[in-house]
Amino acid sequence: MILRDIYWVFWRELKKLLRQRLHILMAVVQPAVWLALMGNAMSGLTANPVAARMLGTGNYLEFMTPGVMVMTSLFGGVYGGASVLWDRRLGFLNKMLTSPLHRAAIPLGKLLALLVQSLFQVLLIAIIALLLGVHFATGLPGIVFLLLLAGLFGMIMGGISLALAARIKSHETLFAIMNFFTMPLMFTSNALYPTRAMPSWLQKIAAYNPLSFAVTPMRTVATRGWVWGDILPGLAALLVMVVLVVALAVHQFSRSVD
């Protein structure tokens, strides 16, 4: 029963998403611009052998691609709660809450739509990266793995955002909280530059940054191959976090949303 309920919430989100042409266009253009700009701006860097060794690859784009993937799903997820605030303001949330719809279906359906959205974006990034000459060390299975991990990370952020949106009523507050975490999360992770180039205090933070949990296994798979010792710790941490965050979001919606 709950699966059908989730399906309908998901169906609505997807319909709405597909109608937002500009939104879709941005989803395509943004990662393309990032990759093209970053790849070009930093290409001088990889000419330096020390830097190349730190990056672990002679191609900065290859280093960057997993980072851009994770950041894209980070941004998608962070604003995931906004749709709940809209639904509340327009009275649609009340419509769902007075229907027999299972309450857990609201965050789960929305989360599923977020997942589809970030998988789509990350797939685009992979395609653009391929077109820009990035070589993925593990081929197609590796790309699928990258999609799944980026998607998993997007769900963590989306789940937190949704859980907050169940309590917080104003867009401003929700965005302020989410922004407060987004930027530091990005800059204390290894998404944009290698851990080895960081001062030691930052290295410690980066090691426990959830963003790095996603980036490290992804970068390993993209540039080095199936080195499980570097993949499993991050993967395990992500899985635990997803379970916790989704449980939290479901819990928040199952309490009365009074």
Binding site: K16, Q20, G91, N94, P100
Partner: protein, 338 residues
């Protein structure tokens, strides 16, 4: 036939201490159209929110079809339909998609859903526009779509919060017709709120007048009007000293069929009366011999406006509250929607 809605001493206190609903008790029989009539902020929507399981009562209990709205909330949700004040239709979907979604929420089997969607679309006259985005609908069309959503699963009890707020007279009449047909064809129990007197008067079998969280009167429109007086007599003195006028008013108050006399605007007075046609000559007899002149007298049937004034001492200001509030909401939707 037992009561399908029973509310006992319902109380809702919001954080900050606002007693939005302050000890409300009433019963609605199956098949009845029951109206909650009250001005802005009276607590109408808050009462509906408690009856539709949206908010937990701070105190008191309520049952729908014998089910407690707190303990059996899940079951209550299957029995009721709720058309809120907010025009809660999704602008980014078509009318048809809104209904399809609603059918999904209420777990209607696919074939049945399709049939019912056609049926309710025809009922609210939106068949032609069903495939257009709701974004392109007028306010009245949105409201009709929202009502159609509320009807789709044929609830035993339908809650309609301000079903005609901000609509033009013609659309308002149409919606009244739908509501009456629902009762006649489907036997649905309808709980509606309004601050239009004429609406409550013409539509409802029974009415509760609610003001500042409390029910101040409850009964059929006829009963309520009967308590106040069936008619309203307005008269005005064109001349006479203050003492003479006061004496005249005192005598008028003593006429047997006059219930109450209040000061109106200017030199005018308003009396609630029964058998007004006979009160008019009696009024002139009563003041004969006093140094006053009556400038004008008019007699009209009592409306619920008069009833509200009688019970609360205040008038309902329909225009300011109703239309203004609706318009603000619509504008907010538009602005935020972009």
């Amino acid at each position: 036939m037992g009561a399908i809605i029973e509310a006992q001493e319902l109380v809702k206190v919001f954080p900050g201490g606002i007693r939005a609903v302050d000890g409300v008790s009433f019963q609605v029989e199956e098949g009845e159209i029951f109206g909650f009539l009250g001005p802005n902020g009276a607590g109408k929507s808050t009462t509906i929110a408690m009856l539709t399981t949206l908010r937990r009562p701070t105190g008191g209990t309520a049952r729908i079809a014998g089910l407690d709205v707190v303990r059996d909330a899940d079951k209550v949700r299957r029995v009721i339909g709720n058309v809120s004040q907010d025009l809660a239709v999704d602008d980014d979907l078509t009318g048809y998609e809104n209904l399809k979604l609603q059918a999904g929420f209420y777990r209607l089997p696919r074939r049945e859903a399709e049939e019912r969607i056609e049926e309710v679309l025809a009922m609210v006259g939106l068949t032609e526009r069903a495939r257009d985005l709701v974004e392109t609908y007028s306010g009245g069309m949105r409201k009709r779509l929202d009502i159609a959503c509320g009807l789709l699963h044929r609830p035993r009890v339908l809650f309609l919060d301000e079903p005609t707020l901000g609509l033009d007279i013609q659309t308002r009449r149409e919606i009244w017709d739908y509501i009456r047909r629902l009762r006649e064809e489907v036997g649905m129990t309808i709980f509606l709120t309004t601050h239009y007197m004429e609406e409550a008067d013409s539509l409802c079998d029974r009415i509760a007048i609610i003001d500042r969280g409390k029910i101040v009167a409850i009964g059929t429109p006829e009963e309520l009007k009967g308590r106040v007086g069936q008619e309203v007599l307005e008269f005005e003195f064109s001349s006479g000293t203050d003492e003479a006028v006061a004496a005249a008013v005192a005598r008028i108050k003593n006429i047997p069929n006059v219930r109450e006399v209040r000061r109106g605007s200017g030199n005018g007075y308003v009396a609630t009366v029964v058998q007004g046609a006979q009160v008019v000559p009696a009024l002139f007899e009563a003041i004969a011999g006093l140094e006053v002149k009556v400038g004008s007298v008019s007699l009209k049937r009592a409306t619920l406006d008069d009833v509200f004034l009688y019970y609360t001492g205040r008038k309902i200001r329909e225009e300011e509250g109703g239309e203004g509030a609706m318009r603000t909401r619509m504008i907010m939707r538009r602005v935020r929607g972009r």
